[in-house]
């Protein structure tokens, strides 16, 4: 089977996963996605379109991703063909990773995080020394900070799961769902809940490049609360320890009270500022007391948020006053604090409604984060408990660990600043050029003090090829290697290489399903250096992008300027097509050409705006990328070629060829000259956000105005169902009849309806009446069989109760009489406007003609309202503003129906016929 694209076939893909790649889900060799995807498997010899890849690049990729040159110095030539992945910066690792995780990971990196690129350095030590060495390293790393836990948030975790699944994380990572088979190219994720706390994971996700400067993990363009939600998804089983004393007070206040003068109703200890201790939701107050541990002296900011009021006191002095009754409001204050424990008090009161309180801290070395991790019951470090195993830094172990960090080689890869200077590695290794096949790190079974990377045979072989090979690298290959190392290929296809893998394809979603794959999958980057203007390419690479946010759920993340900036020139060097724009001589002044361009883009010519947004105006169809950004983003030469045949540049695109086969489809603009027309569109769009809005975007009202005859409008009318039939009468009175429920649904005065919703664009949604004095009449069919006059009015759908709509007949003034059948009866429901000199507004006179025979007791419900007052015989005032008068009705019943009132008329057929008249005056 020959495959040209990612999609392949299901069969082919199973084959691919099953045999072609060494999918070793339990193996612990370092996982480098670019290597696994393109170099670990031999290409399918039957696939003539399979890209031809030079295996040397696979080796170079590993040299960089495994950071070999951190220990083995490389010559200049080799440096040019290796992009090293710097190991995480560990300056503040203590505030990022939990102690237990550090211990597990250092002692057994490959089983703690299968696929990690960190080698095992401990295995090279004599067995007897390993435990002590690990402990010393852990103490040293933990000496750089402390982690703080946050309350678990189940709702947040659920949202976080959704964000993890669709924000692009799964382009590189494996879903946590164990049912999804291991994808060999997945970048390993350890059990993040063991490693991070919610605040530390959130801080990492917000700016991963800060601690992992080589950008392999990019920053997603999400909001803070979204990062927090993702963190909650990973960090779930948090056992919280009581660290705060509380005292609950009952009362109703309009400002934070002085609790010292009040008597608490209950007291105790709790984990964090936990308002559930009050045991109620309104009219209470809580005073929280604890000790705030400050490690580093300096100025700290406190952010106290609450609904209703609150107050923060530290060391007996007021820091934040957030008093009064209000929705959740955050107020901030700051205080200089010495290292040590400081008494802290949070006073809080709640009146009614929502109830919240939270306290955040930021200061020297601390990102803004929940203060809870710094709060303790007593002015000393707590004794160890099962939930929080004791860990007290041992100064001598810290020193020993620092020594090991330098001597074992940790410092070769990891930056770790102590007193502003990075620790230098004392590990010596051979220069790269002296490395030999099957020796040292490249041995099948690495022995001695050497680091254990867990390399598999293919990786060792690839490394050898790169070590032995030349250091020449064509420009195209360099671009490819960069894309493979940053795993750009996980999302983007370039030429025949990369693009979303079949197994990951379902994780890419679109907000505009109708756009198909191009609304869902990130764009091709074939020829991207030709397509995008250099400035824009730089902007996208450096800042990420969200130009496609109207349809594409994933966004271009930020990889860090140093890592991607060289691509701007590299893409241009490889991709640029130097063919100049066709020379055009405009036959008219530019302003006219621009107008022609505007016309072409608009709804009466090429209709680009039927799919593309334009400035602030959404398109009338799908929401494809904004036209006013085209000039800023795209090279005009590329646009000129693209417009002539979009399929060449974006195979499968929905973008039509406006100049098919080199001919203009609009022949009456600029003489039908293709070059001129394309130039005119480009000239017009060059105005960017200032370009005049083209015709067809802004919906203009289309009021239907009956003049001599009624206008019938059968469509989706709000309040009248999907089978609504609106009738606007020249007398400025209107009605809407619901052909699902056979009911007169609404009556109103004045303007009839605006048809623009349904008569422009696709006609999405329900349109409400345009006029005034709108009265919505009773729901449900107006007739029912009631065995007893006390039976409740049925609420089943009319069509399921035997009603059949039969259409309508127009009278001599074109006014419809609606017809339906029920229980053997034929009914015509015919309304006509009545105007009277003394009345400013027309009324309606409705005639129900019921014919046929039935043995069932049938009732007509003339009204359902809050209040029905009898004015005179068969005349009623409905809810104080509508007067109805019944003619031909006998034995009218006014009855209570729940908290409403109904007006029922028994249907008494005389000679197989009943004519009931009902007038509506309002």
């Amino acid at each position: 089977m020959l495959l040209r694209s990612w999609a392949g076939s299901a069969v082919a893909c199973l084959y691919f996963v099953g045999t072609a790649v060494s999918a070793e889900p339990n193996s612990t060799h370092p996982r480098v996605p670019g290597f696994e995807r393109f170099y670990a498997a031999a290409p399918d010899p039957d696939d003539e379109d399979a890209p031809k890849l030079d295996p040397i690049t696979g080796g170079r990729l590993l040299l960089g991703e495994l950071n070999c040159t951190a220990c083995h110095s490389a010559a200049e030539g080799m440096k040019n063909v290796v992009s090293t992945k710097q190991a995480p910066i560990l300056d503040e690792i203590g505030s990022r990773a939990r102690v237990g995780w550090l211990r597990d990971f250092i002692s057994k990196p490959h089983s703690t995080k299968p696929g990690t690129t960190m080698p095992d350095l401990i295995a090279g030590l004599p067995e007897a020394e390993r435990g002590d060495a690990v402990e010393a390293l852990v103490h040293f790393l933990a000496s750089t900070g402390t982690t703080t836990d946050a309350h678990p948030d189940k709702a947040g975790a659920k949202r976080g799961q959704g964000l993890f699944q669709k924000s692009g994380c799964l382009a590189c990572h494996q879903p946590l769902d164990a049912k999804v088979a291991d994808i060999p190219t997945s970048v390993s994720l350890p059990d993040l809940g063991k490693k991070y706390t919610v605040p530390s994971l959130m801080a990492f996700l917000k700016d991963p490049v800060k601690v992992r400067p080589s950008g392999r993990m990019p920053a997603l363009g999400l909001k803070d609360e979204e990062f927090r939600d993702i963190a909650h998804y990973f960090v779930t089983d948090v056992e919280l320890v009581s660290n705060v004393k509380f005292a609950v007070y009952d009362g109703s206040w309009d400002d934070t009270p002085d609790f010292s003068k009040l008597k608490p109703v209950s007291e105790g200890t709790c984990a964090g500022l936990d308002l559930t201790v009050a045991g109620k939701t309104g009219n209470f107050g809580v005073q929280f007391k604890a000790f705030l541990k400050i490690a580093k002296g300096g100025k700290y900011d406190f952010h106290l948020g609450s609904d209703d009021g609150s107050r923060l006191t530290i060391d007996g002095s007021l820091v934040v006053e957030n008093g009064g009754v209000h929705p959740h409001t955050v107020k901030s204050g700051s205080k200089m604090l010495e290292p040590g424990f400081h008494p802290i008090v949070v006073d809080y009161f709640q009146g009614g409604g929502e109830w919240t309180v939270d306290l955040e801290i930021s200061g020297p070395g601390l990102n803004r984060q929940p203060a809870n991790g710094f709060l303790f019951l007593e002015a000393k470090d707590p004794a160890p408990t099962a939930a929080r195993p004791g860990f007290a830094l041992d100064a001598s172990l810290v020193d020993k660990g620092r020594g090991l960090f330098a001597s074992l080689g940790c410092a070769s890869c990891h930056q770790m600043k102590q007193n502003n200077a990075p620790i230098a590695s004392t590990l010596k290794a051979k220069p790269l050029v002296d490395l030999k096949e099957a020796t040292g790190c490249l041995s099948e079974n690495v022995a001695g003090k050497l680091p254990r990377f867990g390399l598999n045979a293919k990786q060792r072989a690839a490394l050898v090829i790169a070590l032995k090979g030349s250091t020449e690298e064509p420009a195209t290959e360099k671009v490819h290697r960069t894309l493979a190392s940053l795993n750009c290929y996980a999302c983007h296809k370039r030429g025949q290489i990369g693009g979303v893998e079949e197994a990951r394809n379902p994780f890419f979603e679109s907000l505009q399903k109708e756009m198909g794959d191009e609304g869902r999958l990130p764009p091709l980057i074939t020829g991207v250096g030709d397509k995008l203007r250099p400035d824009w390419l730089k902007h996208v690479l450096l800042n990420g992008a969200d130009d496609r946010k109207n349809y594409m759920v994933v966004r271009m993340p930020k990889f860090g300027g140093n890592n991607v900036a060289p691509l701007v020139e590299a893409f241009a060097a490889v991709d640029l097509n130097l063919e100049p724009l066709p020379k055009v001589e405009f036959p008219e002044p530019e302003y006219r050409i621009k107008a022609a361009g505007r016309h072409l883009v608009g709804g009466q010519a090429l209709s680009c705006i039927k799919c593309h947004d334009f400035g602030p105006h959404p398109s009338t169809g799908v929401r494809a990328i904004n036209l006013t950004t085209m000039h800023q983003r795209l090279r005009p030469e590329w646009v000129n070629r693209y417009l002539r045949d979009p399929q060449v540049y974006r195979p499968g695109t929905r973008m039509p060829a406006a100049w098919p086969f080199g001919k203009a489809s609009i022949r009456d603009v600029l003489n039908g000259d293709v070059d001129l027309q394309i130039a005119a569109v480009a000239l017009y769009l060059a105005d960017g956000g200032k370009a005049a809005v083209p015709v067809g975007l802004v919906r203009e009202p289309m009021e239907l105005k009956p003049v001599d005859e009624p206008i019938i409008y059968r469509n989706f009318i709000e309040g009248s169902g999907s089978r609504a039939i609106g009738v606007g009468y020249p007398e400025r009175v209107n009605l809407s009849w619901d052909a699902n429920e056979m009911r007169l649904a609404m009556i109103w005065h004045g303007a009839f309806i605006d048809a623009s919703r349904h008569w422009t664009g696709r006609g999405v949604g329900f349109e409400a009446p345009l006029g005034d004095h709108l009265i919505a009449l009773a729901p449900n069919a107006p007739l029912a069989k009631l065995a007893s006059p006390n039976d409740p009015w049925p609420t089943a759908l009319a069509r399921e109760s035997g009603f059949r709509f039969q259409g309508y007949r127009l009278d001599d003034k074109q006014r419809p009489g609606f017809r339906y059948s029920f229980a053997g009866l034929s009914i015509e429901d015919h309304s006509v406007p009545v105007t009277k000199a003394e009345e400013k507004f027309a009324s309606l006179e409705r005639t129900l003609t019921i014919t046929g025979t039935t043995a069932d007791p049938i009732y007509y419900r003339a009204a359902l309202a809050g209040k029905i007052e009898k004015v005179s015989d068969n005349e009623f005032r409905i809810d104080g503003f509508l007067t109805i008068k019944l003619t031909g009705a006998e034995g009218v019943i006014v009855r209570q129906a729940g908290n409403q009132t109904e007006l029922l008329v028994p249907v008494k057929l005389v000679g197989g016929k009943l004519v009931l008249k009902q007038s509506y005056v309002w």
């Binding site: 055009v584 169809g621 039509p656 098919p660 469509n715 048809a755 008569w759 007949r809 074109q814």
Partner: protein
């Protein structure tokens, strides 16, 4: 880009095009099939959804805005003084009209209705609901396309899914037959987003469906009562007793990511597309369906079918044959340049094809918001591939005119590629399973009217795209349209 002397530049452009015409110009579509546009009065928004020629010689056109217009003298050429009168208004997006016994039947979103002018004032005054057994929720995508009467007097209605993805209320994603006495019969499941419905010369029913979930590209499908045509979104309605009675039990659901013919082999109820229109090569939104039953008045393509494309504003031509009891066949380009997005198509006995269009909501190459045009044969026969028939070892091409044996007998005059689309629940599909079959011999028949191609590497289930760029007619002309796309579901034995 600089403004230059205007007069000179205009002259230059005009001079250029004059030169182009002076050259020995190859024939163009208009030489054989001529478009006669109607001038539509400005106050009428003719987004034509249905067309029917009435016994009194007037042409009725139904619109998306719910009007029905009558045009007198529709065959006038040019139709300059045609009189437009409004027969009805206030209907809900009428996508199909047909007349019988003095009634005009109209398929609206919510029902099939019939309309009559009982007082002779030229306007309908009686609007009877014939059948409204299906439901609508208020989603704009809930379109209903209605056919003409079949030989039993039924109107067939194809109902778009809710939002074109799922079936949120009764019969969305189904085809119903509405009998002369107003009953509905569940007929086919598996509809996604239809664009038109029509019969072949034998009165069998076909409809077009559009690229989306379970439709890798746009297609022509055969509506055979009891069959499932691809999108399982509406399967829940098999549970209704009235459906079960005529359709039998619910079929197995197709496996997403598979191929059309793979699933057809497993699911007996599944009737795969009979012609796939390769996406963007042959349009992007297949629409109306018509058949030339005029006995030669429309040129050499008797009994062939024609399918519109809304986004490209074209009409395509389809040749169908039956292999193992199932239709399949080839599509060809036929005529481009319609004024708006092709939607409704109606062939009349004199050999005219009326084509109506709209480009509201979905853009089209033809720029007008609405259009009505008549396409007529000029009497000149274009040099075209007339039929493309599958053979066990290749294809047989027949031509509308004798071929030049030298070029037509040279395998280098042809090239072929093949591919298919993924049958999947995700939207659309790229082309997959590409192959390059080799044409090993091309043998011209003695009469010069057909060529037998022997092809190495035919692949059942693939569309075989043939380009016959090198062949010439006996008169030395190139083909008017060089490409043919054969949906080779089955290779004949």
């Amino acid at each position: 880009m600089r403004f230059s002397v205007p007069g000179l530049a205009v002259l230059f452009v005009a001079w250029g095009s004059l030169l182009a015409f002076a050259a020995d110009k190859p024939p163009v579509e208009n030489d054989f099939y001529r478009l006669i546009p109607f001038e539509i009065p400005k106050e009428i928004m003719l987004e034509a959804g249905g067309i029917e020629l009435l016994p009194d010689g007037k042409l009725a056109i139904s619109t998306r805005r719910g009007e029905i217009w009558m045009v007198d003298k529709p065959f006038a050429d040019p139709p300059k003084d045609a009189k437009w009168t409004r027969f009805a208004h206030g209907l809900h997006e009428v996508l199909g009209i047909a007349q019988r016994d003095g009634w005009l039947y109209a398929t609206q979103r919510g029902e099939v209705s019939r309309l009559k002018d009982t007082n002779g004032d030229g306007k309908a005054d009686l609007f009877e609901t014939v059948n409204d057994d299906w439901q609508i929720n208020g989603d704009y995508h809930e379109y209903a396309f209605g056919s003409k009467f079949d030989r039993d007097g039924n109107i067939w209605v194809v109902l778009c899914l809710t939002g074109s993805f799922s079936s949120e209320c009764k019969y969305r994603g189904w085809c119903l037959r509405i009998t002369p006495d107003g009953k509905s019969i569940a007929t086919c499941s598996g509809i996604r987003s239809p664009g038109g419905i029509g019969m072949n010369a034998l009165g069998e029913m076909f409809y077009t469906d559009n690229q989306g979930p379970w439709n890798g590209t746009c297609e022509l499908k055969h509506l055979i009562p009891g069959k499932f045509v691809g999108h399982p979104g509406g399967f829940k309605w098999y549970d209704l007793p009235e459906v079960k009675a005529v359709m039998g039990p619910k079929p197995a659901e197709p496996v997403s990511g598979s191929r059309f013919m793979t699933e057809a082999a497993k699911i007996p109820e599944y009737e795969p597309p009979i012609i796939m229109f390769p996406y963007s090569k042959m349009g992007k939104s297949a629409s109306g369906v018509a058949c030339d039953t005029t006995g030669g008045k429309f040129g050499p393509f008797q009994n062939q079918m024609f399918v519109g494309d809304q986004s490209d504003s074209t009409v395509m031509r389809c040749f169908l044959e039956k292999i193992d009891g199932h239709y399949q066949g080839a599509c060809f380009r036929f005529r481009e340049g319609f004024g708006s997005g092709t939607l409704a198509m109606e062939m009349t006995a004199d050999g005219s094809m009326f084509v109506g269009g709209t480009n509201r909501g979905w853009g089209s190459r033809g720029p007008k918001p609405g259009a009505l045009e008549r396409l007529v044969w000029t009497g000149k026969v274009p040099f075209e591939i007339h039929e493309m028939r599958a053979k066990p070892d290749g294809f047989e091409l027949t031509f509308t005119q004798p071929v030049d044996p030298a070029s037509a007998g040279d395998v280098k005059s042809y090239s072929m590629s093949s591919y298919t689309y993924i049958f999947q629940s995700a939207y659309g599909s790229p082309e997959v399973d590409q192959a390059t079959p080799t044409i090993t011999s091309a043998k011209v028949a003695a009469d010069g009217k057909s060529v037998r191609l022997v092809v190495d590497g035919l692949k059942a289930g693939n569309i075989h795209e043939l380009t016959a760029a090198g062949i010439k007619s006996a008169e030395g002309l190139p083909l008017l349209h060089k490409e043919a796309f054969y949906t080779l579901n089955r290779i004949p034995k």
